[in-house]
C-alpha cells in the first residue's frame, strides 16, 4: 500500500523533456548520439512507469495527487498537477513501452536521415507531452498537453518538409484537429463557470456529475459532454473529422506507429474515459458517442478495402478500431474501451512497424507492387501475420478478446449497434487478408532484392508480436480481473457464447474470402469493380469527404476573405481616403475665394448675411 514510485511520477514525462532540451540545444550536430539520448530517456520513463504500475497492481488503491498553483486570478486559482490512478498507470506503461520500442526501431529506420537528431527531439517532446497528458489531474493541464501532442504530431507529419504532400498533410492535421480542440476549449470554459468553486480537476468532475448529480442542469451537461466529445472526435479521427489521419501517413512510418496508431489518437478515447461521469449524466451524449463510434467503425472499414497504400489501409483501420472504442464508451463500458485501446496499441504499432519494415525493404507503399515477401522477410511476415490476426479478431490473439468485450457490451445495449460492429469486423478481416496476401503471398511483383530488416528493427516487432498474442488474457469472459482493477467495480461477466461464435465466424469468413480472392483466385478480383464501378470509385475516393469539405469550408472561407479584402480596400479605406480628399477639396474651395476681387468678397458676405438672417428667423419655429 505504498505510493513510493507514484510520488515520483512527474519524472516520467520529465526524462524525455530533458532529452528534448538537450537535443534542441545541440541541434543537428548530435547525429546518432542524439538518437541514443532520446532512446535512453524513454527507457528510463518506461522503467519508472513499470515500477508505478507494479505498485498499483500490488494493491495500492489510493490515488496519488499532487498540485501546484499555476496562476491566480482574483479568488480563483488555476492549478497544474498530476494524478496516479490505475487508469493512468496503465496508460503510462502503454505509452512508454510503445514509445521505447519505436525509438529503438527508428534507430534503424531513420539511420540514413541527416536530421535524425531532430527526429528524436520531436519524438522525445511528443512522448513527454503524451505522458503529461496522461498524468494530468485537471482538464486545463490536460488541454495544454493535448495541444502539445497535437503540435508534435504536426511537426512529425511534416518532418520531410520538402515534400509538398508532407507540408499539406501537416497543415491539414493541425487545422482539422484544432476544430475539435475548440470544442474542448469551450467545454473547458463552460465547466469553469458551472462547476462549484470553478474546479477543473477530474476528481471534482467525478463528484459533481457522478455521485452528487443534478448540480448542473441536464441541458448544460449534455452540451459540455458533446463539446468534450467534439475534441475527442478530432483527436481520435472519428467521423466527420477523420480526414486528417490518413493524410498524416506522410510522416515517417515509426511516427505513424507511435502517434497515429498507438498513442496520441487514443487520447480522444482516454479523454472521454477520464470525463466519463459527464457523459453518463447525459443519455443523449452517450447515444451520440455510440452512434458516431459505430458509424466510424463501419465507414472506415469499408474505405479500407479499396485503398492500395499499405499505410493508408492501416490508417483507416485505426480510425475504424477507434470507432469500436468510442462505441464501447457510448454503450457505457469504460473497461471494454480501455481494454481495446490497450490491445490495439500493441497490435497496431506492430502492424505499422511491420509495414515500415516492408517499405524500408521495397521502397514503395503500393501493395499492388509488392508480393511474395513472406519468404524473404520471415520475421516481418510472421509478426505482421500475428498483428493481422489480432486485428481481425481471431482467437486467441489479443484483438479477439477486446473486440469481443466491445461487441458483448454493444449487444447488451442495442442489437443494431452490435450488427454494425459485426459487419465492420467482417470488413476488417477482409481488408487485412487482402493486405497480407497481396504483400507476403504470391509471386514477387518487383525486381530488386527485398531483404529482412536489421535486428534493431525486428526486435521491437517480436516484442510487440508477443504482446499481441498474450495481452488479451488479462480480461476474458471467464476472468474479469482487468476491468475490476481499472474501474474498481466487479462487473458481472456474462460471457456470451453467441457473441464469441458470431465474431469468430465473421473474422474467419473475412480471412477465407480474402484467401479465395487473393491467393486461390477462385473469385475474380474484378468481380465487384466490374459490376459496380461506381461503388468502388466512391470507396477509393473515400466517399468524397475531402472534396465536400473543400467545397463547403475552404472555398467559402477563401471567397469571404477576398470579399472582405475588397471591402477593406474600397469601403473602409475608401471612406478614409474620401475624408482626406473632402478636407483637401474644402481647402481648395476656400483658396479660390481668396482671389482679391472685391466683388466676390461682397457676394460671399451677402450670402453669409442671408444665411444668418434665415437662421435667426428660423429659430422661431424650433
Amino acid at each position: 500500500m505504498s505510493t513510493f514510485f507514484a510520488e515520483y511520477a512527474w519524472l516520467v514525462p520529465l526524462f524525455p523533456l530533458i532529452a528534448f532540451a538537450i537535443l534542441t540545444a545541440t541541434g543537428r550536430g548530435a547525429k546518432r548520439a542524439g538518437a541514443w539520448i532520446g532512446t535512453a530517456a524513454t527507457f528510463l520513463s518506461l522503467v519508472l512507469s513499470i515500477c508505478i504500475a507494479v505498485e498499483r497492481l500490488s494493491g495500492t488503491s489510493t490515488d496519488y495527487i499532487r498540485q501546484i498553483d499555476w496562476l491566480q486570478v482574483g479568488e480563483m486559482t488555476l492549478t497544474a498537477g498530476f494524478e496516479v490512478t490505475n487508469l493512468t498507470s496503465l496508460m503510462l506503461v502503454v505509452v512508454t513501452l510503445v514509445s521505447f520500442l519505436v525509438n529503438l526501431y527508428s534507430q534503424g529506420y531513420m539511420r540514413e536521415d541527416d536530421r535524425i537528431s531532430t527526429f528524436f527531439a520531436y519524438v522525445a517532446l511528443f512522448t513527454s507531452s503524451m505522458l503529461g497528458l496522461v498524468l494530468s489531474d485537471n482538464l486545463l493541464t490536460f488541454y495544454i498537453f493535448w495541444e502539445l501532442v497535437g503540435v508534435c504530431s504536426f511537426l512529425l507529419v511534416g518532418f520531410w518538409y520538402q515534400k509538398p504532400e508532407a507540408k499539406a498533410a501537416a497543415k491539414k492535421a493541425f487545422i482539422v484537429t484544432r476544430i475539435g480542440d475548440l470544442g474542448l476549449f469551450i467545454a473547458l470554459l463552460l465547466l469553469f463557470w458551472y462547476m462549484p468553486g470553478n474546479a477543473l480537476d477530474f476528481s471534482s468532475i467525478h463528484n459533481v456529475f457522478g455521485t452528487q448529480g443534478g448540480v448542473i442542469a441536464t441541458g448544460i451537461t449534455t452540451l459540455i459532454a458533446l463539446l468534450i466529445f467534439v475534441g475527442a472526435v478530432g483527436k481520435s479521427g472519428q467521423f466527420p473529422l477523420h480526414v486528417w489521419l490518413p493524410d498524416a501517413m506522410e510522416g515517417p512510418t515509426p511516427i505513424s506507429a507511435l502517434i497515429h496508431a498507438a498513442t496520441m489518437v487514443a487520447a480522444g478515447v482516454f479523454l472521454v474515459a477520464r470525463t466519463f461521469p459527464v457523459f453518463e449524466a447525459s443519455p443523449a451524449a452517450m447515444t451520440t458517442v455510440a452512434i458516431v463510434g459505430a458509424f466510424t467503425a463501419i465507414f472506415a472499414a469499408t474505405i479500407g478495402i479499396a485503398q492500395n497504400d499499405i499505410k493508408r489501409i492501416l490508417a483507416y483501420s485505426t480510425i475504424s478500431q477507434l470507432g469500436y472504442m468510442m462505441l464501447a464508451l457510448g454503450v457505457g463500458s469504460v473497461t471494454a474501451a480501455m481494454f481495446h485501446l490497450f490491445t490495439h496499441a500493441f497490435f497496431k504499432a506492430l502492424l505499422f512497424l511491420g509495414a515500415g519494415s516492408v517499405i524500408h525493404s521495397v521502397h514503395t507503399q503500393d501493395i499492388r507492387e509488392m508480393g511474395g515477401l513472406g519468404s524473404r522477410m520471415k520475421i516481418t511476415a510472421w509478426t505482421f501475420g500475428i498483428g493481422a490476426l489480432a486485428l481481425s479478431g481471431i482467437p486467441p490473439f489479443a484483438g479477439f478478446w477486446s473486440k469481443d468485450a466491445v461487441l458483448t457490451e454493444a449487444l447488451n445495449k442495442s442489437p443494431i449497434l452490435f450488427i454494425v460492429g459485426v459487419v465492420a469486423a467482417f470488413f476488417t478481416a477482409l481488408y487485412m487478408a487482402r493486405l497480407y496476401f497481396l504483400v507476403f503471398a504470391g509471386k514477387p511483383r518487383q525486381d530488386g532484392h527485398a531483404h529482412e530488416s536489421p535486428p534493431v528493427m525486428t526486435i521491437p516487432l517480436i516484442v510487440l508480436a508477443v504482446l499481441s498474442l498474450f495481452a488479451g488474457f488479462v480480461e476474458t469472459p471467464f476472468n474479469g480481473w482487468f476491468g475490476e482493477w481499472l474501474t474498481g467495480e466487479t462487473a458481472d461477466h456474462h460471457g456470451s457464447g453467441l457473441v464469441m461464435v458470431v465474431s469468430v465466424a465473421v473474422g474467419l469468413l473475412g480471412v477465407y474470402l480474402g484467401w479465395l480472392i487473393y491467393v486461390k483466385g477462385t473469385i475474380s478480383r474484378d468481380i465487384v469493380s466490374s459490376r459496380m464501378p461506381g461503388l468502388v470509385m466512391v470507396l477509393e475516393r473515400k466517399y468524397y469527404i475531402d472534396e465536400l469539405y473543400h467545397l463547403i469550408f475552404v472555398k467559402p472561407l477563401y471567397a469571404a476573405g477576398k470579399l472582405l479584402e475588397a471591402f477593406d480596400e474600397y469601403v473602409v479605406d475608401g471612406a478614409v481616403r474620401l475624408t482626406g480628399r473632402a478636407a483637401n477639396a474644402l481647402g481648395r474651395l476656400n483658396t479660390r475665394l481668396q482671389n482679391g476681387q472685391v466683388q466676390s468678397y461682397a457676394l460671399t458676405a451677402l450670402i453669409g448675411i442671408v444665411i444668418l438672417l434665415l437662421a435667426i428667423a428660423g429659430r422661431r419655429f424650433w
Binding site: L71, G74, M76, A166, L182, F192, L557
Partner: protein
C-alpha cells in the same frame, strides 16, 4: 529600493539624454552612434528590471511614485466673487503599478531588441538613433505618466519620431504611409485632448489643501480625478454657489468624454473600422520600427483604454460592454479571415495583429479580473510575438529581398535556425499552450465567458482561423522544395540570433510560468476592481 533615487524619471529621461548625446556625435561615426543608441536603450531596460524585482519584494510598501508641481497658472477671478484663488495646476506625476509595470518591461525588452535589429538601417544613422531614443522617452512616459497633460505630451512625442522613422527609412510607399499615420493618429489625439479638457474642467476641480476652503485648483492629476470619482462627496462639497460658472460632471458629459476616449484609443489599438492606417505602417515602415509599433505603440491604446476608459468610466463601459465585445469579435474574425487570404507576409501579420487586439478588447469588455488580466497579458505576449515575427521578417528580407509569400519557400533548408524560430513564433501567435499567446487568450475568453457566452464562443473561432493563416504563411515560407536561388544563403548572424533567442525564451517563459506577471497584475487590480464594482452598482 533606495527611496531617493528617482527611478521612474531616470527610465523616462535616460533615452532623452541619449538622444542629446547622439546629437553631439559626428554623423560619420556610425559605430559610436549605434553603441550610444543601444546603451541608452539598455539602461532603461535594466532600470525597469530592477523596478520589477524591487516591486515584487515590496509590493505594498509604496514609493513607486514621483510627483512635483510642474505648472501653476492663476486663473482670472473676476467672475467669481470669492476670496480664495483659483488656478490651473499641472503636475509632473509619474507612478507605476501592477498594470503599467508589465507594459514597462515590454517596452524595455522590445525596444532593446529593436535597437539590436537596427543593424539593417543603412543611412542617416545619427538622425535615426536620435529619433529612436526620442520615441523611447515618449513610450516610457506614456506608461508612467499620471497627469493628463503629461500623458498627452508623451503620447504626442511618440507621433513625431514615428512619422520620420516611417517616412525616411521605410520601403517604397513610406511617405504616404507616414502621412496617413500622422493624420489618423493626430485625429485620435484631438479626440483625446478634448476628452482630457472635459475631465480637467469638471472632475479636476479640487482643494489644494485637504479640508481647507481654498485655494481651489483645476488639475489633471489622475489620482485626484479618481478620488473625485470614487468619493462623490468630494465633488459634491463644491457648492454651486461657490462656482456659478462651474460645469459639473453630468452623465452626458461622462458619455461624451468616454466616447471620445474610446475613439482616441480605438484608433491606436486599432479597433475596426479605424485600422487601415496600421496596415500601411506594418508594410512600409522598416522592420525594427514595426517591432516597436506593433510591439509597443498599439499597447498604448490598450493601456489608455484600461487606465482612462475602464477605471474612470466603469458605468459607461459596463453598459457598453456588449458593444465593446461585439467590436472585439469583429476585430478577431475580420482580421483573421483577411489574414487568411493575404499574399504579402507583412500584411498577414498586420491583420493578425488586428485579430489579436480583438481578444484584448474582449478581455476589457468583460470587466472581470480574469478578463482584464488577460487583456494585459495578451498585450505583453502579442508585443513579444509580433516583435519576434518582424525581427525575422527583417532578417529574411535582407536575404531574399521579398516578403511575398509565393516568392518564398523551402527556407527551412537554407536557414534552419531562423525557420525554426519563425515556426515557434507562429505557433505562439496561434495560441499554442506552453507559449505566451495561450495564457492571454485563455484568460480573456475565460473572463468574458462569464457574462457573454455566445460572443465568446464566436470569438473562439478566431483560434481556428489563426491556425489557418499562421500555418499557411509560415509553411509557405519554410516548408516545401527550396528554390535554386536560395542556395548558399547564410543563417542568422550572432547579432540577429541574440534578440531572436531572447524573445523566444521570454515567450516560452511566459507560457510556462505565467504567475511571474499575473501576480503583479493581480496586485495592480486588487483595490481598483472593488472600487469598480461598487461604482457600477451605485
Amino acid at each position: 529600493m533606495p527611496e531617493n533615487i528617482p527611478f521612474l524619471s531616470l527610465i523616462t529621461l535616460m533615452p532623452l539624454l541619449g538622444a542629446i548625446i547622439v546629437l553631439l556625435l559626428p554623423k560619420e561615426q556610425s559605430q559610436w552612434l549605434r553603441i550610444t543608441g543601444i546603451v541608452f536603450t539598455v539602461i532603461p531596460l535594466l532600470l525597469a528590471v530592477w523596478l520589477f524585482i524591487s516591486y515584487q519584494t515590496s509590493m505594498n510598501a509604496g514609493g513607486f511614485t514621483e510627483q512635483y508641481t510642474w505648472l501653476s497658472i492663476p486663473l482670472n477671478n473676476e467672475y467669481e466673487a470669492r476670496a480664495s484663488t483659483l488656478s490651473l495646476v499641472f503636475d509632473y506625476h509619474l507612478a507605476v503599478d501592477g498594470i503599467s509595470l508589465p507594459l514597462l518591461l515590454l517596452t524595455g525588452i522590445v525596444s532593446t531588441m529593436a535597437a539590436l535589429a537596427s543593424v539593417f538601417i543603412r543611412k542617416r544613422w545619427k538622425t535615426y538613433y536620435f529619433l529612436f531614443l526620442l520615441l523611447l522617452t515618449g513610450m516610457y512616459g506614456v506608461f508612467l505618466a499620471r497627469d493628463l497633460v503629461l500623458f498627452f505630451i508623451f503620447f504626442e512625442i511618440t507621433l513625431i519620431p514615428m512619422f520620420f522613422l516611417i517616412g525616411i527609412w521605410g520601403y517604397f510607399g513610406r511617405e504616404k504611409a507616414a502621412v496617413k499615420f500622422l493624420i489618423y493618429n493626430g485625429l485620435g489625439s484631438a479626440a483625446m485632448l478634448f476628452a482630457f479638457l472635459i475631465l480637467i474642467a469638471t472632475l479636476g476641480l479640487s482643494v489644494a489643501e485637504p479640508g481647507a476652503a481654498g485655494p481651489w485648483i483645476f488639475t489633471g492629476n489622475y489620482d485626484v480625478l479618481l478620488q473625485n470619482l470614487t468619493d462623490p462627496g468630494a465633488a459634491a462639497n463644491i457648492a454651486e454657489s461657490q462656482f456659478s460658472l462651474h460645469v459639473f460632471f453630468t452623465d452626458e458629459m461622462k458619455w461624451t468624454a468616454f466616447i471620445l476616449l474610446l475613439v482616441a484609443f480605438g484608433i491606436k489599438i486599432p479597433i475596426f473600422p479605424f485600422h487601415t492606417w496600421m496596415l500601411k505602417v506594418h508594410t512600409e515602415a522598416p522592420p525594427s520600427i514595426v517591432m516597436i509599433h506593433s510591439g509597443i505603440l498599439l499597447k498604448m491604446g490598450v493601456y489608455g483604454l484600461i487606465r482612462f476608459g475602464a477605471f474612470l468610466f466603469p458605468q459607461q463601459l459596463s453598459s457598453w460592454s456588449t458593444v465593446l465585445a461585439v467590436l472585439g469579435v469583429i476585430n478577431i474574425l475580420y482580421g483573421a479571415i483577411l489574414a487568411c487570404v493575404q499574399k504579402e507576409f507583412k500584411l498577414v501579420l498586420a491583420y493578425s495583429s488586428i485579430s489579436h487586439m480583438g481578444i484584448v478588447l474582449l478581455g476589457i469588455a468583460s470587466l472581470e479580473e480574469a478578463g482584464l488580466q488577460g487583456a494585459i497579458y495578451q498585450s505583453v505576449s502579442h508585443g513579444l510575438i509580433s516583435a519576434l515575427l518582424f525581427l525575422i521578417v527583417g532578417s529574411l528580407y535582407e536575404r531574399t529581398n521579398t516578403t511575398q509569400l509565393d516568392e518564398l519557400g523551402g527556407l527551412a533548408r537554407a536557414v534552419p535556425f531562423m525557420s525554426g524560430i519563425l515556426l515557434l513564433a507562429g505557433l505562439a501567435s496561434l495560441g499554442l499552450p506552453g507559449l505566451s499567446g495561450f495564457v492571454g487568450e485563455f484568460l480573456s475568453f475565460l473572463g468574458l465567458f462569464g457574462s457573454m457566452k455566445w460572443l465568446t464562443a464566436i470569438g473562439v473561432l478566431g483560434m481556428l482561423f489563426a491556425a489557418v493563416y499562421v500555418l499557411r504563411s509560415v509553411l509557405n515560407i519554410t516548408y516545401g522544395p527550396m528554390p535554386e536561388r536560395f542556395t548558399g544563403m547564410k543563417d542568422a548572424r550572432f547579432i540577429e540570433a541574440l534578440p531572436m533567442v531572447t524573445l523566444a525564451a521570454l515567450i516560452v517563459l511566459l507560457g510556462v510560468y505565467p504567475s511571474i506577471l499575473t501576480d503583479l497584475m493581480q496586485h495592480g487590480f486588487d483595490g481598483l476592481l472593488e472600487q469598480l464594482q461598487t461604482r457600477m452598482g451605485g
